[in-house]
């Protein structure tokens, strides 16, 4: 469900960009989504294609790539990836999971920057951590003519 609203935001942003640049047609939309958002990349690509109606967007090539998340501890310099973080995310209480019509999603699915509330250093336990990448959603390429 969230994939559909993300797709709608992408389409709105692309259309507004096309208008700003006075472009007649968009031929490629490539998007990077952070792994922390735990979006279904096929569902996002499908939703994008579904929403790309109208002369400006119809027929544009769509590509969605997942950018790997990685973390680092400021206290002990430990580094780790999503597999380790996933173990901690499984502990997130059920009451905090966002109710979608047919599933329960982690808050990070919507608000990836909230990760310090749920992930800590697997070595020293500190919450003073940072993510190097993997929490953003960005255009990689947007081609228009």
């Amino acid at each position: 469900m969230h994939e559909l609203s993300i797709a709608q935001s992408i389409v709105d942003t692309v259309l507004s960009e096309a208008q700003k640049k006075d472009a007649k047609r968009v031929t490629e939309i490539s998007v990077d989504v952070g792994q922390l958002m735990q979006l279904d990349r096929n569902a996002l690509a499908f939703a994008l294609r579904l929403l790309m109606t109208g002369p400006v967007l119809r027929g544009a090539r769509v590509s969605v790539r997942v950018k790997k998340a990685s973390f680092s501890c400021r206290k002990c310099n430990q580094e780790w990836g999503m597999a380790e973080a996933q173990k901690q995310l499984e502990e997130v209480p059920d009451t905090l999971r966002v109710r979608e019509p047919d599933s329960k999603e982690l808050p990070l699915h919507f608000l990836p920057f909230l990760y310090p509330a749920f992930i800590h250093c697997p070595r020293c336990g500190s919450s003073d951590i940072f993510s190097k990448e993997g929490e953003e959603i960005q255009f990689r390429r947007l081609v228009m003519e």
Binding site: M1, S9, K21, V98, R99, P107, L111, A117, D128, I137
Partner: protein, 259 residues
Amino acid sequence: MTRPDESDLIPIGAAKEKLERITHVILVGSGKGGVGKSTVASGLALSLSRVGQKTALLDIDIHGASVPEYLQVGPPVRSNKNGLEPKMKEGLRVMSLGLFTGSLPVPMRGDGKQELITQLFALTDWGDLDYLVIDLPPSMGDELLSAFSLFSGKATLALVTTPSPGAVSVVSRLRRLAETEKVPVKGVVVNMAYVLAGKTKTFPFGKPNRRLLEAKFKSTIIAEIPLDPLVSTRGLSAVLKGSNDFSRAFQKLAEQISR
């Protein structure tokens, strides 16, 4: 090939769309903790909603979200095809980061705070609103500056202070910041202005001197709100429903804001 610059990150595009459906944004801030910003923001939002204004309250205090507590709303949040559903409280739409973290601490440095606030605003299904009231956190850091920038052009600031000289001194710094950032100031709310014991008013933080405060803040005092101990036992909403100094002060504040 064009690669939209950083200002075109997808949530920001969505935030602009959402903002177009909101008529007024009221930032409730003080730059300081302990003056009752969340009480004032929650009371104002409820009072605006009760006079028929389509109103929402957004709590962007990342580390100390307290609006869910004041308004007695809690997790889980639901999501629909239009985004995250705000919690409803007597017609008021409420969204807070606290609805996603519950009792967990949220340790976070500056990086990512602006994005987090933008995402929460952009992903919430606000619908059409007459008023969006924003409960700002203490200090003049990332959250406040992010709100100034995100709601720029549509926001006015309601300054909250107590009559205490310490509070007045800090809050007047936020007044100066608002000036440099070109955020219009709607007025000053003097919170905890007095306590009513029977018919006798006592002034725990000193008697507010209206003329001096207005000169200090270069703004009008738009409400003097008493400290009502019943708020902590009966709850904000219940006290606002009664006929008392506290509820009358909030009615007046809502009138001043919507004037």
